[in-house]
Structure formats: C-alpha cells, structure tokens
C-alpha cells in the first residue's frame, strides 16, 4: 500500500469517527431531560449485597444452570393436547431465545413412549435386511468412525398444527415451539451402510428406536446417502436423554418424526414399510378425503418471536423486532416483515450464520410510535419458495391435514404493547 493511500484511509477513518461523534452528540441532545426533583437511584447510590459479600465459589456448580431470574425460560406443555404425558410434546420458549442455537435443556421434546433411559454401554445398533453383512455396533465402534459436525433445525411435522382452523394458542412458544436448532456431532449414515454393504436393490431403509414405542419410519435411500447423520452429541456434549441418548438419526430439513431417537436398528429393503407413523400418523388428509403420504420436507417458515404474546412491547421509540426463519429445502435467502398486516413489507436484516437447513435469526430495528400493528414475517428460501399465508394453504389443503402448517403468523400489537395471536382477512 502506498503512503498516500494509507493517508487517505486514515483521513477517511478520522472523518467517520468525527461523524460518529456528531451522531452521538445529536443522540445525546434527544435524551429526555432530568425531571425536576428526580431522586438518585439507590441501586447506584447504596452498596448492594452482591457488591459487598462473597458469591458462590467455583466448586458450587459442577454443571451450571441458568440464573434464577430466568426461571420462566423453560419448556412448557399443553396438557389438553394429548391423552398422556408419555406420548406427548412440549414446546421450546422461542420468545426468550436469541441467535440460532437452542440451549440443549430447552429443546422441545416429543416422545411416543416416554424417555428411554439407556446406559450407552448397553446400547447396540444393528444393520440388517438387504445388506452383504448384517452388523452390530457398540457406541465405542461408532465413536471410532470419521466424524462430522452439522447445525440443523428439527421441526415437528405438527408444529403450528393447532392453528389450522384459526388462532388458538397465545404465544409463539405454543404456536411455533416444536422446533430446535443445535450442532450435531456424529457419523454419516453412509459410513455405517458402507460397513454393511448395501445390496443393489435397496430403495428404502427403516429406522427403529429402542424405546417402548419402537418408533420406526421408512427413509428413502437417496436421502440416507445424501446428508443423514447418526449423531451422539449435540451442542458439544452427549445427546440429552430426551433427545435420544446415546444415539439418534438426524435427517436435515425433514419432519422431526423421522429423526428416530434411541436408534437401535436400520433395516435395508426394496419398499417402504407403511409403519404406523407413516400411515395413521404423518399423513396429511386433504379436503377431498384423500391423503398425502411421505410429506417429508419441512417448507420455508418464519415467526416473529419479539414482540409476541409472551413478549409484549414495553417502550415506545426504539425497539428490536426479531424472529427465526428456516427451510427444509435449503438456506433462507430473505425474510420480509410487515407491521400493517401485509399491505407493505420491508426486508429484515439476517444476522449470524446462514446455513443449510438451519434456523436463521432476523432483526428489524424499529421505531414504534405507539400505533396498533399487525406484525408478520415471510421467509423466502434458496429454491425461490415463498412462505404462504394460512389462507393460501387452506385453499389447497383444507383444515384437516394436521401437519406441515407453515402459514404466515400474525401478531396484533395493541397500543398498550400487549400482543396477541390473531387471524386476519
């Protein structure tokens, strides 16, 4: 770099910093004046306990937990949804999260026969069916294979399913919380299949869990060989029991039900099995009485998490509007946000990693003048698919398909800042 060029850059930097200062000055002058007779804040003027006394030592928390002031940031369930808590679901507190990684202890749960508690030394993975050599692996065997790390969202096919007929649950935790996004460590399914040697006529695999539901699903071989992982870790540590410890399937972009937990067996075959979870369940009944099956992919979807019914607006003026977007078909290309119920849209700012079949985080830095708002977000993915409205979806599918509701969500923000789940027309 020439001396002149670097001098130019220095000059420009100086100019920018001066401009920045000017901006700061302007902002300072717009701060509210100190009110007449204002009292100093005792939290500042008086010495607080935590400033005076010793806190806990490093030996108090061998496995750390969140602050007690975050005690409401927890998974919640909706008891009337299911007949038993062992075959049920709870919800990730999306309204209280930021970034894109879901803390392991907050990842929503969906079980069909409760949480299987398995000593990893006692766990076995079998591969059988149309293979050259049926095999049994221990966890140690799997830990000796080449590893991969991938960040992916897992969304339950029934996420937002209670909203097909209209606005029903008041909070994005309940309307959209059957989703989480973590980093998985594991091995490619392909690595395991190569060990067994697939016969040429293999078209489908069946994945089966070791839990009391014997959860099983058919998986097309093309997907299995493409990007499916068999994972033993999430967010850097072993899978949580409720997420399939010690071993689970990771099927990027596809409905959560296929991500078999406590994975004990993979069978190779030439046809799908028509298991209960792909016939009675996870089939989508349409208005003409016929049903779609094998609707594996989770389409592009988004939700504004702040403001939302559990996270109302507290201030006029500066606010951060934020949310998640995701697509099972690829990456999120763009997220648009409206505050007038879809009349006008602006493109939000995506910040943080934009990864294949992963959540992205979007923001709109918003000046709110206190008017009523109808907030929506609309995701577009790398295939050009644009998240539809609920009305558009209902036109194609009716209201009884249960699964795959990726329709645009509306939050009505009242002048008080209180926010509620509404349907608009």
């Amino acid at each position: 770099m020439s001396d002149k060029a670097s001098a130019d850059i220095l000059n420009r930097r100086r100019f920018l910093s001066i401009a920045g200062l000017a901006g700061a000055g302007a902002a300072m002058s717009s701060l509210p004046a100190v009110a007449e007779g204002a009292k100093p804040d005792p939290l500042i003027t008086e010495v607080q306990d935590w400033e005076r006394y010793l806190g806990d030592g490093v030996d108090k928390r061998p496995y750390g937990m969140p602050s007690k002031f975050e005690k409401n940031v927890i998974r919640r369930d909706v008891s009337w949804l299911t007949a038993s808590p062992e075959s049920s679901v709870n919800f990730t507190p999306l309204h209280a999260l930021d970034g894109i990684i879901t803390p392991s202890g907050l990842c929503f749960e969906r079980h069909h026969g409760g949480v299987a508690e398995i000593n990893p030394d006692d766990h076995r993975l079998m591969i059988n069916g149309l293979v050259e050599r049926p095999l049994v692996f221990t966890m140690d065997d799997i830990r000796r294979m080449p590893r991969v790390n991938k960040i992916h969202f897992l969304e339950c096919a029934a996420n937002s399913g209670m909203e097909w007929r209209g606005a029903q649950l008041n909070g994005c935790q309940f309307t959209h919380g059957m989703v989480h996004n973590v980093m998985y460590t594991g091995v490619r399914l392909r690595t395991l299949l190569d060990e067994a040697g697939l016969k040429p006529n293999v078209k489908w695999l069946m994945l089966e869990g070791a839990d009391s539901a014997g959860m099983n699903r058919s998986l097309p071989i093309e997907k299995a060989l493409d990007d499916v992982l068999i994972a033993f870790a999430m967010n850097g540590e072993a899978l949580r029991p409720e997420q399939g410890y010690p071993l689970r399937a990771v099927i990027p972009g596809w409905e959560g039900n296929l991500w078999v937990k406590w994975l004990r067996r993979i069978e190779a075959g030439d046809k799908p099995w028509a298991t209960r979870e792909e016939t009675s369940k996870y089939t989508d009944l349409l208005a003409d009485g016929r049903s779609r099956k094998h609707t594996f992919i989770m389409d592009a979807k988004s939700v504004v998490t702040n403001p939302s019914p559990q996270a109302p607006l507290k201030y006029k003026g500066r606010n951060v509007l934020s949310g998640f977007a995701w697509s099972g078909r690829g990456t999120v290309k763009r997220v648009d946000v409206t505050i007038d119920g879809g009349r006008n849209w602006q493109t939000a700012r995506i910040d943080g990693p934009v990864l294949d079949k992963s959540l992205v985080r979007f923001y709109v830095d918003l000046d709110w003048d206190g008017r009523e708002m109808m907030i929506q977000s609309r995701a577009m993915d790398s295939t050009g698919y644009v998240q539809p409205t609920k009305a558009e979806l209902r036109k194609v599918r009716g209201v009884n398909s249960i699964y795959h509701n990726n329709g645009i969500q509306t939050w009505l923000v009242h002048k008080s800042g209180e926010t509620e789940n509404v349907e608009i027309a």
Binding site: K71, N72, V78, A83, G113, M126, N128, P134, L135, V136, F137, M145, P146, Q168, L169, N170, G171, F174, R188, R190, T191, D194, E195, L198, P200, S212, A213, N216, L225, R265, G269, A274, T275, R276, T279, S280, T283, L285, G289, R290, S291, R292, H294, P309, G341, G342, R343, N344, M374, G384, Y385, V386, E392, V396, N400, N421, V422, E423, I424, A425
Partner: protein, 234 residues
C-alpha cells in the same frame, strides 16, 4: 465381557490394522464415496447373529414380508381385547376418555370433523399387526405373542365391519388377502406440483392488499396455559 467368536475378533483387528495405516483423508473419502464404488471398510462392528436379528427384526410390511407363522380368531381377540386393551380403547374400540378411537368413522374423511380410525383411514392391515406387537399395550410393549397379535388384529377387523364372522380366523396365510377400506386414498407428496404457486420470483412488497381485519383471536378461545408464571422450582 465380549462373546465374540475368535474369528470375528481377528477379522476386526485386521480391519483395524488396515485403517491404522491409512491416512485420515482416505478414511474421509471412504465415508463420502458413493455406495456403488466399493469403499474401503473401516472394519468396525461385528456380524449380527441370526438369533439377534430375529429378536429385533419383527416388522411386517404390507406385502406380508415379516409375518410370523401364527393364527387367531375374532372371538379369541375379543376376550384378549377386553382384558388387555378395553381400559383405554373401550369395549368396542370407541376409546375411553381421550385415548384413541380404533373403530368407526367410515365415510367421514370429507367431513368437517373427520373420524380417522383403523377402519376409516388406515391403508394397510400389516400396520395394525406390526404396531400392536411393537408398542401395545401402552406401558407394557412387546408382551403379546404372535397368536395374540393375530387374534387382536382379527377382532379389530370385526369392530370395523371388515370381517363379519366371529369365528373368522386371521393367519399368516390369509393375511394379505384382507383389503382395507381406505387403502387407495393415499398418494405421494406432490407439493412441488400442487403448490407450485408458492415459488414466486418477486413477492409483493408495496400496497399488497386492502386494510386487514381481525377475524379470529386466540384469547377469545382461552386455552393457552397461563404463561405468566413457570411452575415452582425449588
């Protein structure tokens, strides 16, 4: 601890020494090469024994693949059902409380509130047999014999008017001759065709619609758990 035959241990060790001398990169290649390209094996795992496969591989396919030899009548199934199943599913499969309904609802799939049961909705009988043997009774899975599973499946066929005779015997020979009422009403995911309008080049950004009106409110239904307070954490 290990009950491996000696031969297998040797084979596994052979595999280990092979991979130990190869570079990590080649292991990566082996992992990512196509299944048809005869990748080098890592030599991990051991051969599954026939008894082990038999213990775990109990699934049954619609074409009958996997059906065990066995039999059971509607009458036998009725007795078993009252003893093992009716407390949740009701005497006639009508469902007790909020537990699943197993019978009825035929012809209701186009209704505003469809009733999806084995008889009205399920496409394949194999699923009934397989799921009962795999996961029922709820809380005591894998406790039924093959003959009991045949008998219960037969009883469910009679509850759904698919067979009429209480002496009907379902067995591994006649199993695939049973046709389910809703068998032909399923088709593969067609979203890329049926919903191709959702792929838009330039979605509207300005003056897209008239002023919207609120037509439904979750708060009016009021079924959300109280979200102001989490449960007590001691």
């Amino acid at each position: 601890m290990s009950r491996l035959p000696k031969l297998l241990v040797l084979a596994a060790l052979g595999g280990l020494s092979l991979t130990a001398f190869s570079l990590p990169a080649s292991a990566q290649q082996a992992a990512s090469s196509s299944a048809t390209a005869h990748p080098k094996k890592l030599g991990l795992g051991r051969v599954a024994l026939p008894e082990e496969i038999k213990a775990w591989d109990t699934d049954v396919r619609p074409d009958g693949l996997g059906l065990p030899v066995g039999k059971g009548t509607v009458k036998e199934g009725d007795a078993l059902f009252q003893e093992r199943c009716a407390s949740c599913h009701g005497e006639f499969g009508e469902g007790a409380g909020r537990w699943p309904v197993l019978a009825g609802g035929q012809g209701s799939l186009k209704a505003d509130r469809p009733d999806k049961t084995i008889g009205s909705f399920w496409p394949d009988l194999s699923t009934v047999f397989d799921y009962i043997r795999r996961a029922m009774p709820f809380g005591n899975a894998q406790s039924l014999t093959d003959d009991e599973a045949y008998a219960l499946t037969a009883y469910l066929l009679s509850l759904n008017d698919i067979v009429k005779d209480e002496n009907f015997e379902l067995n591994n020979k006649n199993f695939t001759s049973i046709k389910m009422p809703n068998a032909s009403a399923f088709y593969d995911d067609d979203r890329e065709v049926a919903e191709k309008q959702f792929w838009e080049k330039d979605p509207c950004m300005k003056d897209c619609r008239d002023a919207p009106k609120v037509v439904g409110r979750a708060m009016a239904i009021d079924v959300t758990p109280d979200s102001k307070e989490g449960p007590k954490v001691e």
